[in-house]
C-alpha cells in the first residue's frame, strides 16, 4: 500500500525546480579556482604575457638602439636606474636590457606556445588515429614513435640547425618534430579506453565515418588530458629553446630569447654586471614555475584518475 504522506512529499519535491547539474568543465573550473598555487601562477603568467605584449610601450629605449653614453662602460654606467631610462640596465653593447628582455620574453613564449601547439595538433591526431584504428596500423605507428623517442633529439636538432641554417622556422620545425611523441602516446592510451564505449559504438552503428568519429567523438572527450599535458609541454619547449640558444645555436641576433640573454649574462658576470644575468633569469624561472604549477593545478582539476 502506498503511503499517501510519502506520495505527497514526492509530488512536492517533483514540483520543486530541478537542481541544476554542473558540467564536468564547470566542476573542473571550481576545483582549479580552489587551488591557490595554480591561481597565483595563472596571475603571474598573465603578468608575464602583459609584459611581453605591452612592455615595449613602457621602454624608454628600443631593443636595437645603443646608448653610446654607456657603451664600453656597462659595469660602471649600465646598472639598472630610472634616471637614464634603463630600468633593467644595459648589456655590454649599451643596448637597453629592459626592451631586450621584453623581446626575449616574446620570442621564448612564442616558441613555447607554437611548439606545444604543434605537439597538440599532431600528437592528438596521430595518437587518436593509432588508438582508434588499432591492430597492425597501431603497432606500426607506435613502433615508429618508440624509434623516434630513442633518438637523441637535441643532437639531431643541432645537426639540423647547422646544416640548414639557424632560422626560426628550422627551430620551430625541429622542436615541433619531436614534441608530439609523448602526447601521441598519452592520447592513444586515452583513445583505447574510449573506443569501446557505447556512444562510439552507437556512432559506428549509425554509419559515421571513422575520421568523423575521431574528430567529433574521441577528440572532444580527451581534451582535458590534452590540455593538462599541453600546459606542461610549454615550459619544456621553452627549456629546449633556451638550451639551444644558450649554446648560441638558436635564435640569432638581432632577435633574442631567454636562453640567449642568460648565456650573455652568464658570460659577463665576471665583470660585475650581474643584472645582465639576474633579470632574464628571473623571468625565465617565474614563468617556468608558473607553467608547472598551472599544469599541476589543471591536472588535479581535470584528470579523472584523481577524483
Amino acid at each position: 500500500m502506498v503511503d499517501t504522506q510519502q506520495m505527497r512529499s514526492l509530488a512536492a519535491r517533483l514540483a520543486e525546480p530541478e537542481v541544476r547539474g554542473r558540467s564536468p568543465w564547470a566542476d573542473a573550473r571550481r576545483r582549479f579556482r580552489r587551488n591557490k598555487a595554480a591561481m597565483v601562477s595563472l596571475f603571474v603568467l598573465i603578468l608575464v604575457a602583459l609584459f611581453a605584449i605591452f612592455g615595449n610601450q613602457l621602454a624608454a629605449w628600443s631593443n636595437e638602439e645603443m646608448d653610446f653614453a654607456v657603451m664600453g662602460q656597462a659595469a660602471q654606467l649600465g646598472a639598472p636606474s630610472f634616471a637614464n631610462g634603463h630600468y633593467f640596465g644595459t648589456d655590454d653593447l649599451g643596448r637597453d636590457l629592459f626592451s631586450r628582455t621584453v623581446q626575449g620574453t616574446q620570442v621564448s613564449l612564442m616558441v613555447g606556445l607554437i611548439g606545444a601547439g604543434i605537439a597538440v595538433i599532431v600528437g592528438t591526431l596521430y595518437g587518436a588515429t593509432a588508438g582508434y584504428v588499432g591492430g597492425r596500423t597501431d603497432a606500426v605507428m607506435m613502433r615508429l614513435v618508440d624509434i623516434l623517442m630513442s633518438i637523441p633529439y637535441m643532437f639531431v636538432l643541432i645537426l639540423l640547425l647547422v646544416m640548414f641554417g639557424r632560422s626560426m622556422t628550422m627551430l620551430f620545425l625541429g622542436i615541433g618534430l619531436i614534441s608530439w611523441l609523448d602526447m601521441s602516446r598519452i592520447v592513444r592510451g586515452q583513445t583505447l579506453s574510449l573506443k569501446n564505449r557505447e556512444f562510439i559504438e552507437a556512432a559506428r552503428a549509425t554509419g559515421v565515418p571513422a575520421w568523423k568519429i575521431i574528430l567529433r567523438h574521441i577528440v572532444p572527450n580527451i581534451l582535458g588530458v590534452v590540455a593538462v599535458y599541453a600546459t606542461l609541454l610549454v615550459p619544456l619547449m621553452i627549456l629546449s629553446e633556451s638550451f639551444i640558444s644558450f649554446l648560441g645555436l638558436g635564435v640569432q641576433e638581432p632577435l633574442t630569447s631567454w636562453g640567449a640573454l642568460i648565456s650573455e649574462g652568464a658570460g659577463t658576470m665576471n665583470y660585475g654586471t650581474l643584472w645582465q644575468l639576474a633579470f632574464p633569469l628571473f623571468f625565465f624561472c617565474i614563468t617556468l614555475f608558473a607553467f608547472f604549477f598551472v599544469g599541476d593545478g589543471l591536472r588535479d582539476a581535470l584528470d579523472p584518475k584523481d577524483r
Binding site: P152, F155, I158, L159, L277, F292
Partner: protein
Amino acid sequence: MFGFILRRLAVAIPTLLLLIVVSFLLMHAAPGGPFTQERALPPQVLANLNAKYGLDDPLWRQMLNYIWGIVAHFDFGPSFVYPDRSVNQIIAAGFPVTLTYGAISFVLAVVVGVSLGVTAAIRQNSWLDYCAVGLSIGAQVLPNFVMAPILVLIFTLWLGWLPGGGWGGPAFWIMPVIAMSTSFMASIARITRSSMLEVLGSNHIRTARAKGLPESKVILRHGLKPALLPVISYLGPAFVTMITGSVVIDMYFSTGGIGRSFVDSALNRDYAVMMGITILVGALTILFNLIVDVLYAWIDPKIRY
C-alpha cells in the same frame, strides 16, 4: 627472459641503422659540401679532395662504406676539418671525461633522488617532506644551463672554493656533477615520493605490517620494489636529457668532453664529427633503453611486451 632480450635487440638494431642512414642522408642534403669555402677551391684540388675522402663515389656506395666502417671496424672516418685527426681520435679524447662526470651525476641523481623521495613519502607532511617537495619543485626550473652560471658565481667568484673550469682532480668534478644532476635528482625524488605514497597505501603493505614484519623490511622489500617501477621507466628519457646536458657542461666548465667536440664541430661544419657523436650517443641511448626495459621486466614479472 632470453627471448625477451632478443626481441628487444631485434628492434634496437634497426633503430640504430635508421639513425645512421637518416643522419647520413641529412649530411648529404645539406647545402654546401665540407670543402665549400669563401674562396672557391680550384676544381682540380676539389676533385682530388673528393677522391681522397671518397666523396666522388655514388651516394649508396658512400653510405654502405660508412656503415660498413662503423659496423666492422668501429671507424667513423676522417674529420673533414682537421686532416690529421680521425673522428675516432676526437671521440676518444673527450668520451672518458664525459663518461666520468656523467656516470657520477647519474648515480648521484638516482641514489639521492630515491632516498629523498622515500624519506619524504614515509614522513608525509612532515617538515622533511615539505623541504623535499619544495626542493624538487625549485630544481625543476633550474636546468643545467641555469645551474652552471649560478654555481660558478657562488663557488668560484664569491667564495673562491672551486676552480671555475678545466679538468683534473675531484675538485673539478664537483660543479659539473651538481649542475648536471640537480634537476634529475628533483624529478626522481618527486616520482619516487608519489609512487611510494601510492604503494604504501595498498593492501599488501597492510598485510606485511599486520603479520609483524619490521618496518624497514616493509619499506625496503615490499614498498620500494614496486615503487621503483615509474622511476625506472623515467631513467630512459632522463639518460637522454642528461647526455644532452653534457653539451652545456662541456661548454661552460671547459671540461673537454664530447659535448665540446660536438658544438665545435657544429660551428665548424665538421659533419663527420657531428655524425660520429650523434651516432655514438644514439647507440648509448638505445643500449640504455634496452637495459631499462630488461630491468623493468625483471622487477615486474607481470610485464611482457
